[in-house]
């Protein structure tokens, strides 16, 4: 049986994804991701949802050469879009039962 991981710590995130610690601080400062355990920077842990957005932000920064303020806005819109698509799907499913 394979172990499922639901959290990732900052050290592992930096090492696995080749991300600088300063970049993660920047991403958190802009509110793109929120650590699940705050306090000292070296003790930050992220759930996979937040780790996913950190990786996405870093990719957008590298691939589209956007600054962090623009990335923060793009990510906010992407999160909204994802949430709305999910709600839309749920409502469609409920509506089909009610009609």
């Amino acid at each position: 049986m394979v172990d499922v991981t639901l959290y990732i710590d900052i050290e592992e995130l930096c090492e696995n994804e080749s991300i600088n610690e300063e970049v993660i601080v920047e991403v958190v400062d802009y509110g793109i991701a929120v650590p699940q355990r705050g306090g000292i920077f070296s003790e930050w842990i992220f759930d996979l949802e937040n780790a996913y957005w950190i990786k996405k932000a870093v990719k957008l920064n590298q691939q589209l050469l956007l600054d962090w303020a623009a990335i923060s806005m793009v990510i906010d819109l992407m999160k909204d879009n994802e949430k709305l698509a999910q709600e839309n799907e749920q409502l469609r499913s409920r509506l089909s039962r009610l009609l």
Binding site: M1, V2, T5, N16, L60, Q63, M78, Q90, S93, R94
Partner: protein
Amino acid sequence: MKFKDYYKILGVDETADLKEIKKAYRKLAVKFHPDTSGHSDTEERFKEVVEAYEVLKDPTKRAEYDELKRYGAKSGGGFDAPPGWQASDGRNQYRHQEHGDFSEFFNSFFADRGRGSEHSPDYGPDLFKGQDLEMELPVFLEEVVAGTSKSIDYHVPVYTNNQLNQIKKSLNVKVPLGVTDGERIRLKGQGAPGSEDRLNGDLYLIIRLVPHPLFDVQGLNLILSLPLTPWEAALGAKLEIPTLDGKVKLNIPANSRSGQKLRIKGKGLKNKTGQGDLLAVIKIDIPPSTNSETKRLWSELAEAEKYNPRTEWS
């Protein structure tokens, strides 16, 4: 091997300076990026653009590329490296570190000088760690409640002898209790193998809840559409309703209305953050056909009850 005309891909002249190259790259990257283009089929074009930029933004790689282009490109798109050709860092064409997203041409000549090189300490593709993989995992609501284990099969891209092959892998995964639709779970080290002593990539499973024939999911709450006859709604009733772990008795209050929600505590989904409820949403359903006796009774009711549900219209 097919030659890649990176200048053509970016739509710039061979004499273009770095500013022009960057400008062309940004324009095309935004146009074809899978996250911003709104089309999933632009990914191949995007990879091509990134590959071209990866080479042309770096003066050393660009000089080597220009040399290859001058002497190696053949008509018809074919390509042979010039005899005795060697990169400026002393390594010649076939190298060990390869990038699964890029072309054979890139991997043969430019692949192992990305991250960590003096030219791009923070940027550029990750050329060392194994590729992370993502796949959707369909899960039934009953499995979410029970936290069962599931067997999954998937393919891992592996480079052997300069060729990309797919290796089939099987895993047994325990589905965490109360996972929600769209949630990601990570299987550490189960992605593509890393090169040399580098880490394997991870496998990310994206949970997809299989639509249930009876229940919809809203957060930790389950929603059940509860059809009632008009007389059950008017007079009240005692019914048995389904939940994910068997049936429970529910009192329907008299004068219940369509759309009204009845809450059954603790019969929703459960995870570490809490326990959801089951919400039964009333839907008034009238019999599909009426006989003469039923018609008479409805008429009597219409005479006795002067209720008008459309008073707001006047």
